[in-house]
């Protein structure tokens, strides 16, 4: 069609495809099939939905990065745009890299000014093909997605047999559906083979780079972690991007937690009236000996503040998943951020501190969910799992979930009726073992011993109400001691040396890791070598301080405006702020390797970390 002024991109297993769709058009399942088919060919992908806070009608995108190297972050830029949404046409076309490809529905002719001269245009009359093949309006809509999937399979050399196998698995027992999908796929494929030069020079080739990894979103994995970690009570209130965690817990429990003989449930899930009630239910259940959790996002944590302080002070286990989103206030509900670090670390009024866990991917969402339930019981305090939208709601190619059958759930220090009968001393807030962690009893344990009154007011070591200063200070100091004990129980940071001796280091946490390894490789290629530390929890282990002390400068990469982890490091470890150099990305999109490389490159030059040398952004030479 259009005249090309730049050579078409020619790359194998290393490109970005972006689908521009309309929300509610049924495109999501076709797009997921596209990603999974490439995975089945042994080629890693990293895929992300970019969606609005809307059910139907607004623009939505799906971005698939095909990456032989297995990078997990967004690359930035687009090589093939599947432009199915006229609303966003100009923006979508503008995003294409020079030499890229533009696939669109050519049923209605567009003026030449709508196109760029430096990209290859692939027009296919999708609507016309659909209207000829189907009479039902809904079918026309749904199969249109499958038809373009068929065309893309021909253009990018995706094995159609893999897509057909996915149909068969998805529609097992519904052969008619599988069949009609296969026909639609062939319709698109045949058209592309007949009308375009298939495959393109930019395409997929079968490889063996996926291994045994699985494709799963963090909320689903966290929900499984809750099942395996023995959670029996889930109380929640719907809020993006956390709702799918509670819903996945329900789905998995229906399969894994039903008594075979009676069909009855070994779990309870309550959709509460608000976040105040959901955390109240979690605290009530955990007080009574059940393992309980809630899933929410920043606004929910704001609402839960008072109860969190009660759980801290009365020492009641609770697990809170905060799937962070763009904030403050309602913020950007469908965008990602890491901006609740301080909110959670010091949640509630008065002197409080809470353990935080920072999963870096869905696999860690699983392990940290189960761990959080253990830690809550062990430490008798709220534990926060700080995931975010990017981990929680996106499918990641990630290590398979693993469970050691020898593992015993740690229910913490619970005094039993026999011990009470035998005359063992019970003081609810008595530091019997010297680790700051007292013993508790479940209600109903013993007729005459071990009962106590739980309250948010000050009490002595035997849970008796008091307003005496020394008793108050004694209790507050013990809580601090308990927090110190937590240091040895939470996951240690992952520390790695650079390939060459380095004067500077870099710290990150959570979903930022997706872009970090790629960025570190790019920086190393330009001569910037950094020792690295991925922080996995708060309170900070001593090794966190030691790492910072061992370097002249340390970059701290975060996805928030105010450098919240840096503040926490400065505050808790007494670090000279000048030593910690922030790299901040907070526009709501997941941080890219390109961004980090650029930022660190520039700042490294400024701080004289390495000999001066301008860093070119990754991929800019394309």
């Amino acid at each position: 069609m259009a005249r090309r002024t730049k050579e078409p991109i020619a790359r194998i297993n290393d490109f970005v495809v972006k689908f521009a769709n309309v929300n509610g058009s049924g495109s999501a399942s076709a797009n997921a099939l596209f990603a999974r088919a490439i995975l089945r060919m042994g080629v890693p992908v990293s895929a992300r939905n970019i969606f609005p806070s809307n059910i139907q009608g607004l623009p939505t995108w799906y971005e698939v990065r095909v990456t032989a190297a297995g990078w997990r972050g967004r690359r930035g830029g687009v090589d093939l745009m599947v432009a199915m949404n006229p609303q966003t046409w100009d923006k979508d076309v503008g995003e294409l890299e020079g030499g890229g490809y533009l696939f669109y529905d050519s049923t209605r002719e567009l003026p030449a000014t709508s196109f760029r001269s430096d990209v290859t245009v692939l027009g296919m009359p999708l609507t016309a093909i659909c209207n000829a093949a189907y009479t039902d309006a809904r079918q026309r809509q749904l199969f249109k997605n499958i038809i373009y999937l068929g065309a893309l399979s021909a253009l990018l050399a995706i094995d159609p047999a893999e897509i057909e196998r996915l149909f068969a698995e998805q529609y097992r027992g519904k052969e008619a559906l599988s069949d009609s999908n296969r026909k639609a796929l062939a319709l698109g494929r045949d058209y592309a083979l007949a009308n375009f030069a298939c495959p393109l020079p930019m395409r997929v080739e079968r490889a063996d780079a996926v291994g045994n990894r699985i494709f799963i979103d963090g909320n689903n994995a966290a929900a499984l972690g809750c099942v395996f970690g023995g959670a029996t009570v889930c109380a929640w209130y719907p809020i993006t991007p956390s709702s799918s965690l509670a819903e996945a817990f329900a789905k998995h429990c229906r399969k894994l937690r039903v008594d075979a003989a009676t069909g009855r449930h070994k779990y309870a899930i309550v959709q509460a009236e608000d976040e105040l009630a959901s955390i109240g239910m979690v605290i009530g259940a955990a007080w009574n000996g059940a393992r309980a959790f809630t899933a929410t996002s920043g606004p929910g944590i704001s609402l839960m503040q008072e109860f969190i302080g009660l759980a801290y002070f009365a020492e009641i286990p609770a697990v809170l998943f905060d799937i962070q989103r763009g904030s403050p206030s309602t913020g950007m509900p469908t965008r990602t951020q890491q901006a609740d670090v301080l909110l959670c670390a010091y949640a509630s009024h008065g002197d409080t501190k809470h353990p935080l866990l920072f999963p870096e991917d869905p696999t860690e969402c699983f392990t940290m969910a189960a761990l959080a339930l253990d830690l809550a019981d062990r430490l008798q305090t709220p534990i926060f799992v700080l995931s975010d939208l990017d981990i929680g709601m996106q499918d990641w190619l990630t290590a398979p979930l693993a469970w050691d059958d020898r593992r015993v759930l740690d229910r913490g220090k619970v005094m039993k009726a026999e011990e009470l009968s035998a005359g063992k001393t019970f003081g609810r807030y008595l530091d019997a073992d010297g680790d700051g962690i007292p013993y508790r009893t479940y209600p109903g344990t013993h007729a005459t011993r071990g009962s106590y009154f739980t309250r948010g007011t000050t009490k002595d070591r035997y849970a008796r109400y008091t307003e005496e200063g020394p008793a108050y200070v004694d209790n507050m100091q013990r809580l601090l001691h308990k927090f110190e004990t937590a240091k040895s129980l939470v996951p240690a940071p992952v520390i790695e040396k650079a390939d060459k001796p380095a004067r500077a280091g870099v710290i990150w946490y959570g979903s930022t890791g997706a872009a970090m390894s790629e960025s570190l490789a790019a920086l190393a290629a330009t001569g910037i070598h950094l020792d690295r530390m991925r922080i996995r929890s708060f309170p900070f282990a001593d090794s966190v301080e030691a790492f910072i002390a061992a370097h002249e400068h340390v970059f701290v990469v975060e996805q928030n405006r105010d450098a919240q982890l840096r503040m926490l490091l400065v505050n808790e470890c007494g670090i000279d702020p000048a030593k910690l150099i922030s790299v901040l990305h907070y526009d709501g999109t997941p941080v890219t390797a390109r961004f980090i490389t650029q930022e660190i490159g520039e700042k490294a030059a400024h701080f004289n970390v390495t000999p001066l040398r301008k860093v070119a952004p990754l991929g800019a030479a394309d």
Partner: protein, 351 residues
Amino acid sequence: MTFLAKPKLHHPGLPKNALGYTRRDYEGAVSTLCAGCGHDSISAAVIQAFFNLDIEPHRVAKLSGIGCSSKTPTYFLGNSHGFNSVHGRMPSVLTGANLANRDLIYLGVSGDGDSASIGIGQFMHVLRRAVNMVYIVENNGVYGLTKGQFSATADKGSKAKRGAINTDEPIDLVMLALELGATFVARSFSGDKAQLVPLIEAAVLHKGAAFIDVVSPCVAFNNHPGSTKSYDYVREHNASVNALDVMVPRDPITAEYGSGSLEEVVLHDGGTMRLRKVHADFDPTNRLAAMNFLHDRAAAGEIVTGLLYTRPDAHDLHDAQETVDVPLNALTDADLVPGSVALAALNASLR
């Protein structure tokens, strides 16, 4: 000074219940409320009811919010676990506790500020969720701990101690409870122990959400002329619709009733409640009729007390959740953890 222990000695001839406990075994710490507080009478009624029902004190969990009323669980059932939670949020904590262990008896104690103002949302939702519990509101129409502000149940036109007139419409928790599907709804008066004790007993035996609104005058801030929650006012305007006698299955039926219509209500565990009707046209098993009756009598200036509504065959939250009989907090690792084989299958489905 609520931690002051009471003297442990008691008269050897104190009557014992079927478990061998005396009434003293159901007491708690010494009350720190004002002398003459209606709430202390309610605590005494709670003690009497659990003694009468032969329930082991430690099988009861007592939960409350914040306020004078919420302090009272310290003053009864000293061998029960208690939970003084946060203001207006007792219902959610109780709901969670109930989910964790269906075998205990849950007693929620709250006040009119705790339940009708800050906590009205949780009050409403715990009732519509059918949590198996007894929920008592010790209703004095006033904020006692903060010294005499109106609460949301204060009647329009009623006068505060310092002279202010309440201009807001009152919230009637009984009408709300009926509207929201509570399956046992009663109102009583802290000064009428003969009526209150059997109501608490029946509420404990009821399966489902049982709510009792107990008008409980505040001697410090709401017991003056012009108050509609004073002892004098309530005594003058109290209109009892029925008198109740509760029989658990093991009891011989000994209750004697004089003339007047009698109504028996069979409890879910086979026990019965016998109601001696005072108002012939009042049917406590007809929710709509009860609501109409209450509206009519309220318009006539009466405070209707007694058992106002019950549905003996009610279901509770555990029925809706279809939970197993074993309390969730007693399930073992083997019950809960699916194991590595199940996880391998899940992994396989995600490739």
